[in-house]
Point group: none
Chain length 197, copies 4
Amino acid sequence: MIIYFRSMRTKDDIKQDALFEATVKLVNEIGFAASSVSKIAKEAGISPATIYIYHKNKEDLLVSTYIEIKRNMGKSVQENFDDSLPIRDIIRNIWVKIFSYVSNHPAYFQYAEQFSNSPYNSLVNKQEIEGYFAPMIQVILKGVEQKIIKNVNFDILTAFIFYPIMALSNPRICQNFEMSDENIETAFTLAWDAIKF
Amino acid sequence: MIIYFRSMRTKDDIKQDALFEATVKLVNEIGFAASSVSKIAKEAGISPATIYIYHKNKEDLLVSTYIEIKRNMGKSVQENFDDSLPIRDIIRNIWVKIFSYVSNHPAYFQYAEQFSNSPYNSLVNKQEIEGYFAPMIQVILKGVEQKIIKNVNFDILTAFIFYPIMALSNPRICQNFEMSDENIETAFTLAWDAIKF
Amino acid sequence: MIIYFRSMRTKDDIKQDALFEATVKLVNEIGFAASSVSKIAKEAGISPATIYIYHKNKEDLLVSTYIEIKRNMGKSVQENFDDSLPIRDIIRNIWVKIFSYVSNHPAYFQYAEQFSNSPYNSLVNKQEIEGYFAPMIQVILKGVEQKIIKNVNFDILTAFIFYPIMALSNPRICQNFEMSDENIETAFTLAWDAIKF
Amino acid sequence: MIIYFRSMRTKDDIKQDALFEATVKLVNEIGFAASSVSKIAKEAGISPATIYIYHKNKEDLLVSTYIEIKRNMGKSVQENFDDSLPIRDIIRNIWVKIFSYVSNHPAYFQYAEQFSNSPYNSLVNKQEIEGYFAPMIQVILKGVEQKIIKNVNFDILTAFIFYPIMALSNPRICQNFEMSDENIETAFTLAWDAIKF
DNA sequence: GATGAATGAGTGTTCATTCAT
DNA sequence: CATGAATGAACACTCATTCAT
């Protein structure tokens, strides 16, 4: 029987992590177009050739990095998910969690925004991404069923609950104020007013 | 005596227009990173060297194209602006106009989205852009004053009125349904519910 | 009968002069390789196309500029030439004049040095250049005849009389001291000691 | 067991040598300005991109080539240096060695001349170059101390001993005659007459 | 005579990727 | 597994030169 302690991470893992962080960091610092394989390699402290051991090509590196971010985010949002609460509270919990994830990982978020607005985005399997957010979807649908949430197209609902988060947590858009706990609460009120029956 | 009709556009204008359209088209088709100067030139039917007569460098070409799009959009949104209507109607008019502009010029919109998520975005004068949207800002502030709109931070308001439009009109995000007039009306209802007092 | 006053120089002349000075200045500032036609034109305050009215091509511009410098220098050196003096004094006069010309027109000299060490140099008619320095040659030959100067190959003589001037007046080589009148006199003593019988 | 003989030069060395020779050859053939990176690469039989493995940029390639030539020359001149001889003989030995080096490596010399008259020259560390010629400097200073050589500024002395070599060995300047051993001896006599007390 | 617009050919440099070690 | 060396292809950009006006 083999027991892996936290400290027993293989060298591979360490390199892969360094590569992930280097990719995110560089794309955020100098942008998508200027982030070349060799610059990423240098940032990660490895050889450009090594990247091709872990990834088929540059595209694969970028897509993998995006998916990894989305997985992280999905996992983080679903922590301590309690569906015994009233629907408004469940959504509020999720909402705040997304907000805090995005605020605490601005680099990940910014990478994801750049990525999803680039043509690389068409290469990812949408369903895999959506999978990470399945519980939220379920709650909303339940709210509609129970006539707590407006009975309108699902995409319209998400556009008003979740999409404003992107704007509010984007320092590029909201340069003028910080999102205090109070502001977050206020913002959720608007989101809920938009979708509630 | 020589009379120049409007139709006697100089060669300059024709080339400049071709360049603008080629830039937008190519960035939408193959993305920001892959849109090289020579590819843009070929698309526009001119020599790469000619681009440097009209623009100092690639950056200038991309930034100019973005600003031009924003100016177009601002102009288009402010057409037939009638501020004698009730505030809800004024905002509804603006809202629908933005929506229809974005829907009718998906290429321009997509370019603007890619651009504003790239590091080039930091190069534009934010105030110039905001200028194009000044009337809208005034209406919202008036609504707040008259206690028709919630008295919360301005950025929060816009995140809930305007930002969802970006999501709803983005074919990448809303792949599953088309925005009919009815859907647009429904969506505005949500926007209004979010911000109204 | 037409009388040209100094002030009556035609526009052409003014442009040609500006072009000459711009060429020299730019080549000295940024070097031969980096001095493009358009940069020279901008420096001269004219259009690149205008250069092609006065010169067949870039090569012709550079060669003409060199020849003009050499003509200037030859003319300047021969001013107040008095061949009734003793040979040593004649040569001393010439020597000092060359030195002072080179010191007073470092830009011209530097251009000439760069030019004569470039492959463009093979394009100039050597005899035309030598013509400007004929009187000096005559004096030296007379000195040899009169057994005042060593009877050795002419090129060896000039290598020791005139070539050191290039070194001494080149600020690149002589960075450590300025050529005072006294130093000039000292230097000529060495030159004369080298060639005198 | 693998034994590496001296003759087993690594690929590196071969390429680097080819690059050095190609740079010198091309600059001599078509001049400094026209010697582009791609032409040099083609002459050396390597890819332009490969040059950037060995050199940071074009400038670095040209400067390195110059320094290498100067190092070669310095080394060659100091071979069999015997400072037990009378000062005149030591200087004569050095003088002849410089002359023969320059005559036997006209390409290296011509490159150095072009280089030192170009703006690139300001990029080299003068002290490094001077280091290669330290012994000569010492001898001259000793000669001055012993009142064998004129007590004048050092730069003036070198201008008359060494600079004429540049002229005499430059086929561009001395087209009319070859430097026989006798001529070399004669020329050194002039150099010595110039500087001797 | 003078020029701004235009461009094909070329510049120096970096790219994503491969491969022998 | 990991890499430094290598490169063809592409990059952003400038060149010398022409030509219609």
